[in-house]
């Protein structure tokens, strides 16, 4: 089961129109992704942290999620300083740690952390159907929105189906080992999952056609207007523009 623990809440961030949060999160990510100056990246990280605080999220849970990325970053810190060419910073025996390597690793770390933190604060604070409908209202192609919502709906069913298959194998004494029997069994399991998912998709299609589906989803959610949205939207825009300004100015210096 995929849980959405951050979607439940009543903070100022939770009450903002999902569309504004999506737009703000996207713009923020783009600006951060193309920036290279440390002042910009550090300000971005601080801004993302501020959003987390404003959303009143459980800091321990947020850290846990960020640790997933940390694993990837550790790998980066091991590889980048050693493999990147440039003036050396430090020597350990035959190994050379290069200055541009360290810089790049630091930039990538800051960028990914800032973007992930901002997305945690802005996007995970809405539930999945709100996300789908907000994207629909933002004029994202309908097919993509349907794909997203139906995937979310059926990923659980497929996961349950997978669980059933695995249990069925286990109760008959299956234990995975490194041998042909294991590979074959797992291949069968995956193939069966595909077959079942396809059959399920057919039945869902039938059910939808029986209820008059004509290729269009209608959205029931209303996004009420509120001054809060405008204030938040303008503030986010100003901050994002500020980040851009820091980047441009520090390049010129």
């Amino acid at each position: 089961m995929i849980n959405e623990p951050f979607a439940i809440g009543n903070s100022i961030i939770h009450r903002i129109d999902p569309r504004i949060k999506i737009v703000a999160g996207t713009l923020f990510s783009i600006v951060v992704a193309v920036s290279y100056r440390f002042p910009t990246l550090l300000s971005a990280l601080v801004m993302a942290g501020g959003l987390i605080l404003a959303a009143h999220l459980d800091l321990r849970a947020v850290t846990k999620r960020l640790l997933v990325v940390a694993g990837f970053l550790v790998l980066l810190w091991v590889v980048m300083p050693l493999t990147f060419e440039g003036p050396s910073l430090y020597r350990i025996g035959p190994l050379t740690i290069t200055r541009p390597g360290v810089t790049l690793a630091a930039q990538i770390s800051l960028k990914s952390l800032a973007i992930l933190t901002a997305f945690t604060a802005l996007i995970t604070t809405m539930n999945f159907s709100a996300l789908g409908h907000a994207l629909d209202r933002l004029r994202l192609p309908g097919k993509l929105v349907h794909l997203l919502l139906l995937t979310y709906r059926y990923v659980f069913v497929i996961e349950q189906e997978y669980g059933r298959l695995v249990r069925a194998a286990k109760v008959r004494g299956f234990r995975s080992k490194t041998n042909l029997h294991t590979y074959k069994t797992i291949a069968y399991l995956i193939a069966m999952l595909f077959v079942r998912s396809a059959a399920r998709a057919d039945r869902v299609d039938h059910a939808m056609r029986c209820r008059g589906f004509n290729g269009r989803f209608y959205c029931l959610t209303d996004f009420p207007r509120h001054w809060r949205n405008w204030v938040f939207g303008s503030l986010m825009m100003a901050l994002i523009l500020g980040l851009g300004a820091i980047e441009v100015l520090s390049v010129k210096c």
Binding site: F128, R153, R203, V204, A207, Y218
Partner: protein, 241 residues
């Protein structure tokens, strides 16, 4: 009966590619406000029969008349689907929207109702089924019985003239089954129920047929059979209601 049937099947034959025939020269008439039960063993073609009526699969032979018109192509069946509701055996196939309200409103919206009308109809249908307050529930997090009732709501929200129910009582506990019986009895539309629970069918239908060898048969022969039951203090003289 002088009235014309609202749904009539004649000489329907169907076999899956490479398989033995599932339906053989099947005939069925459903009249207005008629409640028919169909006892069908597994693999007897009950789901196939429903899919043929809804135009989801095309029979190899035979003709279907619905609401006084012969129907054959996809276009005709779109009209049939507006007036005939089918409850699927697996509610997970039927509920595909994130929330209950959205799922129930899906049908009315497809029928061209406005958003407010659709919400209004959905709320009414849900409260008719005793599901008021379920609107914002997430469909995947419902229990099996709740899913079945919500699936029934999604079908009823389209205000069908005919209801086709595929094993509606399977896997339900006594309380939910009772609710289902109560709901079906309160409906004044025709329905056709496939089930293999005789007790359930006898409670909610007027006629019971069997689906055997790809045909619908009336089995009205009385047969002698025995009843056995057991419970605590069973040796004491007692009455059953």
């Amino acid at each position: 009966m002088n009235k014309k049937p609202i749904i009539e099947l004649e000489g329907i034959c169907f076999s899956y590619p490479g398989g033995t025939p599932v339906l053989r020269d099947l005939a069925l008439s459903l009249y207005e406000k008629e409640h028919i039960g169909l006892i069908a063993p597994n693999g007897s073609g009950k789901t196939t029969l429903f899919h043929v009526i809804m135009g989801l699969i095309k029979p190899d032979a035979g003709c279907i008349t619905a609401f006084g018109r012969k129907v054959s192509g996809e276009k005709d069946f779109i009209e049939v689907r507006r007036r005939v509701g089918l409850l699927f055996q697996d509610a997970d196939d039927q509920l595909f929207s994130p929330t209950v309200l959205e799922d129930v409103a899906f049908g009315p919206l497809n029928l061209g109702k406005s958003r407010d009308e659709a919400i209004e109809i959905s709320r009414k249908t849900l409260s008719f089924l005793g599901l008021a307050g379920f609107e914002e529930r997430i469909t995947i997090k419902l229990s099996g019985g709740e899913k079945r009732l919500v699936a029934l709501a999604t079908v009823l929200a389209m205000e069908p003239k005919v209801l086709l129910l595929d094993e509606p009582s399977a896997g339900l506990d006594e309380a939910t089954k009772h609710r289902l019986v109560h709901t079906l009895k309160a409906l004044d539309i025709s329905y056709l129920i496939v089930s293999h629970e005789f007790d359930f069918l006898s409670e909610v239908t007027d006629k019971i047929y069997t689906l055997q060898n790809g045909r619908i048969e009336i089995d009205a022969t009385p047969r002698i059979h025995e009843h056995v039951h057991a419970h605590a203090y069973g040796e004491q003289p007692h009455r059953h209601q």
